[in-house]
Symmetry: C2
Subunit: 374 residues, 2 copies
């Protein structure tokens, strides 16, 4: 195995530990900021690290189309290209190709599609996805998979899951056994427990460094997702990291950790940073709102990030309204800082056996809501 995962404490189903990779240790539960096209949007890599991130995610689909995986490889790999020397996890392109590309044709072989960037034709297969991820230099690669949006008919979910399991076997074969890189399988099966069990059994039979839970947070709502997460993590090996893909909001993450999940990624903190939404321990703050125009207080008086220690809500409101780039820079920094602080709080609470109390405090602060009007 190319990674070692040490669970250092548990609290109920929640676990905290360290996932060791060739490029450094990842403290779990971990949140991975998304660096889609070779940049965590509006952030310099050193500042991403400063928020407390141990690992970032890169998108195979975007990077293979622009600037191209072979080009990135010639330039020394994605780490050097984007100036991030910590671990990188790349997705397989499977989810993005089905949501972003044009003229998709799905077959047993893979997906043929046209680029949303320039209309050029491409084919993604398990073998090509693994090759692209190797060219990028991913520390953790993902199996090529396919998943339907929910709700979907059971037959569609079953067929899709079985195709993904055949692709998982081909991904594993294409990956080989490199000493310094890891491959994660992806459980599918929608909201059908028996399909989730079948998928988990197929993945365990193949054997992976870690196991992702795919096909959730695709429209089913938090209650349905949590109901599935009451069962899905337990179907996966106890001694390997479990990664819930594309999740999520802070309360999604906390709820998933309490159900046994170790890793997360989501565009929410970065995307919200560009659309004027700040995520705080008191919930979301829409900085566009006119009530912030004269407010000398920071977003969150208890936050130690550069945005909250240096700038008022009035300033953040002004630069957002004026369309200034610093708006995205400051709000993204704050949001990523808040996410990493949340993860650090979760890890400490698990280590102290106090995750239930931590969760109670988390929900109580959010129930209080945003700062009172001035």
């Amino acid at each position: 195995m190319a990674t070692r995962f040490h669970i250092t404490a548990t609290d109920g189903k929640a676990r905290t530990g360290i996932l060791h990779t060739a490029r450094g240790a990842i403290r779990t539960p971990a949140f991975m900021p998304v660096g889609t096209a070779g940049t965590v949007k509006a952030m310099l890599p050193g500042n991403v690290r400063a928020t407390g991130a141990d690992i970032i995610l890169g998108n195979t689909y975007h990077l293979m189309l622009r600037p191209g995986a072979e080009r990135v490889a010639r330039l020394g790999g994605l780490h050097r290209f984007m100036n991030w020397d910590g671990p990188i996890l790349t997705d397989s392109g499977g989810f993005q190709v089905m949501s972003l590309a044009a003229l998709r044709r799905l077959s047993e072989e893979g997906v043929r599609f046209r680029s949303h960037v320039d209309g050029s034709e491409h084919m993604l297969t398990p073998e090509r996805s693994i090759e692209v991820q190797r060219l990028l230099g991913a520390d953790i690669s993902m199996c090529f998979d396919e998943c339907p949006a929910l709700p979907a008919p059971r037959a569609r979910i079953e067929e899709s899951m079985r195709l993904s399991m055949r692709w998982a076997e081909r991904s594993r074969a294409a990956f080989g056994d490199p000493a310094d890189r890891a491959l994660f399988g992806i459980q599918q099966g929608g909201l059908e427990p028996d399909l989730r069990r079948e998928s988990a059994a197929a993945l365990r039979a193949i054997g992976f460094d870690g196991y992702a839970i795919g096909g959730l947070a695709v429209g089913e709502g938090q209650a349905a997702m949590f109901a599935m997460l009451d069962e899905a993590p337990g179907m996966l090996p106890e001694d390997r990291p479990r990664y819930l893909m594309g999740v999520g909001k802070p309360d999604d993450i906390l709820g998933a950790v309490m159900r046994g999940v170790d890793m997360f990624d989501c565009v929410l903190p970065t995307r919200s940073g560009r659309t004027g939404q700040a995520l705080t321990r008191r919930g979301a703050v829409n900085i566009k709102n006119a009530r912030h125009a004269d407010d000398p207080r920071p977003l969150d008086p208890d936050c130690a990030c550069p945005c909250c220690t240096g700038y008022s809500r009035a300033y953040l409101h002004h630069v957002f309204k004026a369309g200034e780039i610093i708006s995205a820079m400051l709000l993204t920094w704050h949001n990523l800082h808040y996410y990493q602080e949340l993860m650090a709080g979760i890890r400490a609470a698990i280590a102290a056996g106090a995750l239930t109390e931590f969760a109670a405090g988390f929900h109580a602060r959010r129930a209080e809501g945003d700062l009172p009007p001035l």
Copy 2:
């Protein structure tokens, strides 16, 4: 006088020294990055400082319209608002109101206009301009003036200059004698030496902390500007800083320093940073150009800025093409770093009595042009 200006060395007409303000010392010759609407675009203030900037410029016209001068004052002034604790120079709004506002009506009293932001009606007079600059908390304020684009008929330039001199007197009266803030007069007169002399005499009779040369770099070309600068600085007091407004390209700045100018501001390094143009000691580099797509070399191998030490031309090309915010962040940082490094080189050369040799080296490197193709 609210500022003290110590000239520490001269080399020909060029001078180097320190302009002391209540918020810190400004090493001259100085380049002031432009922070139009309360932000040096795509930069955090601490990083502007890290490039070597001692002072930044704020735009009265933009800030009075959005977020509003009274609002900034209530929030503790522009320094606190934008998180910059060094000196700030504000322009008077005169130039911007004539170039950006709608439905302008110029009279002896001032300029009535409609905001380009929301169409609201405003009046800028010398008194209101000085009041706005006081509300913003400027360390250096500028007289309210008016200037025609060049070429213009002599009669128009003469009339405009005399109006600006009457406004300079009203600006001086409105400013009073605060202990901790300075007021600069602005010489006008287009390319007419006798009008420039008349303007300089009028300003000297009023008495200012510093003297700006206005109404150049407005379409006349470098040769005509340099011809005027062979005379204009010498018309202004020897012992006060001379500020050439809105200039300019690196070779404009060097040429103006050699003619006796001490201070500069220009949007070129920041604006170019957002449009994919890097300014280097070898001249301008258009990062959009496809020849950079596979180039592993930095913009400038001899530059120590975070952009050049961390990123390849291939990366900069990619993120520009992909529309990523980091493109503006990195190129702006590089451009401002280059400008401050140029100013530091100029100051050191004057101190060493070697400005002629410095200028020869500057022009020789630019004549070599950009890095050779790979």
